[in-house]
């Protein structure tokens, strides 16, 4: 069939399957690569599925012999002339270990304390479109796409993203800059391509780019040209120029939204921007409860603690609990009399700590003042208006 028509994508696909069954991965990959060149969208999905299976099979094999041959893997790949579907080692991480929900607790919005408004926004903007695909298909509305979460550090952007994946019942693939960067020319861009190809085989899937500002850094501030291809590749992958991103949701999180290239914020890329504010009073009470769980405590008024920790992030609250616990332990060690963590210890700990979000909020306050013409930061403005002291 192929001899008669070299452009027959289906024939290449069948040949790839044949090679796959015959345990000839190199030839299978070449055949699938040819199939992708000439295939339509439907067939492309099938090919991607097969490639995913092939990649997994290969990774399993690699894992088996990893202990003895860890450093020789790349050389072997070159010798076999196999297209490197498994990502090349970089940043101390093996990219084949990019997590597809494995090892992650299956969390949902029930596990997120407070932040009811944010959860409702995410439900309406992300979860419902994702789980009601029929309705969206009918109206020819794309289900996947990009969402940018931004807010002060330590306020649970990553946790919210994981919970969103749990709500959507989708695979969750966290990606960090270290999974992408490679010292060799062109490999970083290829890594991005591979991450997206792998994610597409796992649909429905949520790709989570933590600290998106480091990957999608503002190109007008780059001091060199070497990062441009990486950013361009990421932009084209997010927009889905080469292949459809339906049922593939991309969530980016950043605490420096001003450092994210403006091209990422255009429609079709990260077209929804969500502000993750510091936890509200209810959320803070819940976080205190959670952090003090399993510790020897006296009667604690969580609402009072929450009231006294305005603008504290989740990480700040954890710090308060740690400081209080440390103080109690020090006292026990010096007096020799054991006692519980009391309300007073926590209040004292609050007095000697400050919310770490203030600096961020002051920066964004100035930023919003000079940049909110498009209304992207309306939510932030509302938040700042309700906290006049910042």
């Amino acid at each position: 069939m192929i001899e008669q028509d070299q452009n027959n994508a289906y024939a290449w696909y069948l040949l790839g399957n044949e090679y796959n069954e015959m345990e000839m991965p190199s030839e299978a990959l070449q055949a699938f690569s040819e199939a992708i060149k000439y295939s339509d969208e439907d067939l492309k999905y099938k090919v991607f599925d097969e490639l995913g299976k092939l990649s997994q099979k290969k990774n399993q094999k690699v894992d088996e012999c990893e202990c003895s041959q860890e450093n020789n893997i790349e050389i072997e790949e070159k010798e076999d002339n196999i297209i490197p579907l498994r990502l090349i080692i970089g940043g101390g991480n093996d990219k084949s270990t990019l997590n597809y929900n494995e090892g992650l607790p299956n969390i949902s919005f029930e596990d997120v304390g407070g932040l009811e408004n944010l959860k409702e926004t995410i439900k309406m903007k992300i979860v419902k479109p994702f789980v009601n695909q029929g309705l969206f298909d009918k109206f020819r509305k794309k289900v996947g796409g990009g969402i940018l979460l931004f807010g002060p550090p330590g306020c649970g952007k990553t946790f919210i993203a994981r919970a969103t994946a749990g709500e959507c019942n989708a695979s969750f693939v966290p990606v960090h800059i270290t999974d992408i960067l490679d010292p060799y020319l062109g490999v970083s861009a290829q890594n991005i391509k591979d991450i997206f190809s792998n994610a597409r085989t796992k649909k429905p899937c949520i790709l989570f780019f933590d600290e998106i500002d480091t990957i999608g850094y503002n190109r007008s501030r780059l001091s060199g040209e070497h990062m441009r291809p990486i950013i361009d590749q990421l932009l084209s992958e997010i927009e889905g120029i080469d292949s459809s991103t339906d049922k593939l949701l991309i969530i980016g999180a950043t605490n420096m939204p001003w450092d994210v290239d403006t091209a990422f914020k255009r429609p079709g890329r990260f077209d929804k921007t969500i502000f993750v504010s510091p936890p509200d009073q209810g959320a803070r009470a819940l976080i205190f409860k959670l952090k003090l769980k399993d510790r020897p405590t006296d009667i604690i008024d969580y609402n009072m603690l929450a009231k006294n920790t305005e603008l504290y992030s989740g990480a700040d609250i954890e710090n308060v609990v740690e400081v209080a616990t440390e103080n109690v332990i020090t006292e026990i060690l010096s007096s020799g009399v054991e006692r519980l963590i009391t309300m007073n210890d926590l209040v004292e700990a609050i007095k000697c700590t400050k919310p770490s979000t203030i600096e961020w909020l002051r920066t964004i306050k100035n930023y919003v003042k000079y940049s909110n013409q498009a209304g992207v930061y309306d939510e932030v403005e509302k938040f700042l208006a309700s906290h006049k002291g910042i």
Partner: protein, 293 residues
């Protein structure tokens, strides 16, 4: 000497260079400290750390690292140039000159060092020497960003507007950083009393990096000076400043009294007195005006 690194270390070095290039010096420093535990005597890594420390304004530590990098055999011209820069920032001009000259002895074609030395000469009042050195630096490397940067500030101080524009044009075609060129245009406009244009430039820079408090202060100052409330101050500045006005008022009043124009003298003194009070109140008025706005 620069050591050879395995793949993992190469990755880490790549990350360090990347984080430095996007201005995340603290992250880069953490990674450098990590890699230092494996390569404690590596001059290149020490040099990288010195670069990060300068940007984090930890100059003394940066000096130590630079000196150590030289002792471990890393490029002496680069290290000495960096030391020259640090001492110039710290206003230790004698030490700065020594290091910059040393760097130029090591590498006479190092246009960065030559331009920095030229600017140092300008700062210390040797204007002719400064002009020659800056010109020489640009001859060696016409598109060198550091040389263009110092040339611009030299022309700005000398009030040579055409030369400023020529340098900015060159920077625009050579510099990747939008902040660098916007900053120069903003400064140029500011010194030509085009406050609105300057304010817009600084606003754009601030939007690119809202964590930069210096830019925010500059922006606020330019916006304040551009305000209609500061109109009398601008006129006074154009007439030669408050001292000139004070001397003029005193002389005029004295002459008018001699000519027996008491009424006119009183009016002039009253206007001057009101103007003084207005100028004293302007910052408060501006704050109120901004809040209302």
């Amino acid at each position: 000497m620069m050591q050879s690194y395995d793949k993992e270390k190469l990755n880490e070095l790549n990350e360090i260079n990347y984080f430095s290039s996007i201005g995340r010096y603290e992250v880069a420093l953490d990674k450098i400290n990590h890699i230092m535990s494996f390569h404690p005597n590596d001059g290149y890594i020490l040099f990288l750390r010195a670069n990060c420390l300068i940007n984090l304004e930890k100059y003394q530590d940066a000096i130590e690292d630079c000196k150590q990098a030289i002792s471990f055999g890393y490029s002496a011209d680069k290290c000495k140039y960096l030391l020259g820069q640090i001492h110039m920032i710290l206003k230790r001009y004698v030490e700065s000159e020594e290091y910059l000259l040393d760097a130029l002895v090591e590498n006479p074609n190092m246009s960065n060092a030559m331009a920095t030395y030229g600017y140092l000469m300008f700062l210390t009042g040797h204007e002719k020497k400064a002009a020659k050195l800056l010109e020489e630096a640009l001859k060696i490397e016409p598109d060198n960003e550091t040389a263009l940067h110092y040339c611009f500030y030299y022309h700005l101080a000398k009030g040579k507007h055409r030369n400023q524009i020529a340098v900015v044009e060159k920077l625009m075609s050579n510099s990747n950083s939008e902040i660098t060129t916007l900053m120069k245009i903003g400064m140029m406009e500011y010194y030509r009393d085009h406050y609105k244009a300057a304010s817009e430039c600084f606003r754009q820079i601030f939007l690119l990096d809202p964590t930069d408090q210096k830019i925010l202060k500059l922006l606020q100052r330019v916006q304040e000076e551009a305000s209609i409330l500061y109109f009398p101050q601008r006129i006074i500045a154009k007439l030669g400043g408050p001292a000139v006005i004070w001397v003029s008022v005193v002389i005029t009043s004295f002459v008018l009294i001699k000519l027996n124009y008491i009424g006119t003298t009183l009016i002039i003194l009253s206007v001057y007195f009101v103007l003084c009070i207005y100028m004293w109140l302007t910052p408060t008025l501006y704050k109120l005006f901004s809040k209302f706005k």
